[in-house]
């Protein structure tokens, strides 16, 4: 299992388009990938699941991946957070 805690940096938080990008990227990996926020743990491959987190800028989200490409998956998702979902560059 690989885990990393990330901070949401884009102003709009995990809104629809960001959630779509995140789930799309997560679906490229074989590993099971989860997002953990407060007491919620959701499947990162589900767009609607991500939206239920209602996570905003500044919130901390833990990405957890379990599988043969878990390290690459967590790294890629981490990059997406760091790049603010390509929204403010």
């Amino acid at each position: 299992m690989t885990e990393k805690t990330l901070i949401i940096l884009n102003k709009l938080g995990l809104h629809a388009r960001a959630a779509a990008k995140l789930s799309h990227l997560a679906n490229m990996y074989n590993s099971d990938i989860y997002l953990i926020y407060n007491e919620d743990k959701i499947n990162a491959k589900s767009l609607l699941g991500i939206l239920t987190l209602a996570a905003s800028v500044g919130n901390e989200i833990t990405v957890q991946a379990i599988g043969n490409d878990e390290k690459a998956a967590v790294a890629a998702l981490g990059d997406l957070f760091t790049q603010k979902f390509d929204e403010e560059n």
């Binding site: 629809a16 388009r17 779509a20 990008k21 799309h24 589900s46 609607l48 209602a54």
Partner: protein, 133 residues
């Protein structure tokens, strides 16, 4: 691949598809029929028949805006082993459909998943956040 048609009063369905395309940043394989208010539905029936003929190799889901409305009423006679009609479709339900559209899944199972996604997409936000706190 499950084919889909969205039929609504006015351009509600077309707009919903456009919004979903904007969110997902890709062109969606969903056809749209706008019910123009004036007609008696005859043209709509022909359009549905054309869509079904064109996609007869596929399972089909017809989305409509509201149970009991003309788009749903006109679609209902087409329900069969390869065709389901889902009324009251909303954006969460449509996004749910898109995420499963190209997967190998039974039509009956997919419409249940879409129904659940659409219903769960309706949220009294104060209650939801209250529960979370």
């Amino acid at each position: 691949m499950i084919k889909s048609l969205i039929i609504t009063h006015g351009n509600l369905g077309g707009e919903m598809v456009q919004v979903a395309e904007k969110i997902l940043e890709k062109k969606l394989d969903i056809e749209n029929i706008s019910f123009d208010w004036k007609g008696d539905g005859t043209e709509m029936v022909s359009q549905i028949e054309r869509f079904i003929r064109k996609n007869q190799e596929h399972d089909i889901i017809i989305f409509t805006d509201m149970f009991g409305g003309s788009p749903a009423n006109v679609s209902t006679p087409f329900i069969g082993s390869k065709i389901e009609v889902v009324s009251g479709i909303n954006l969460p339900g449509l996004l749910k459909f898109v995420s499963y559209q190209s997967q190998k899944i039974k039509l009956k199972d997919l419409v249940k998943i879409i129904e659940r996604g659409a219903i769960e997409g309706i949220t009294i936000i104060s209650e939801y956040l209250g529960e979370k706190k």
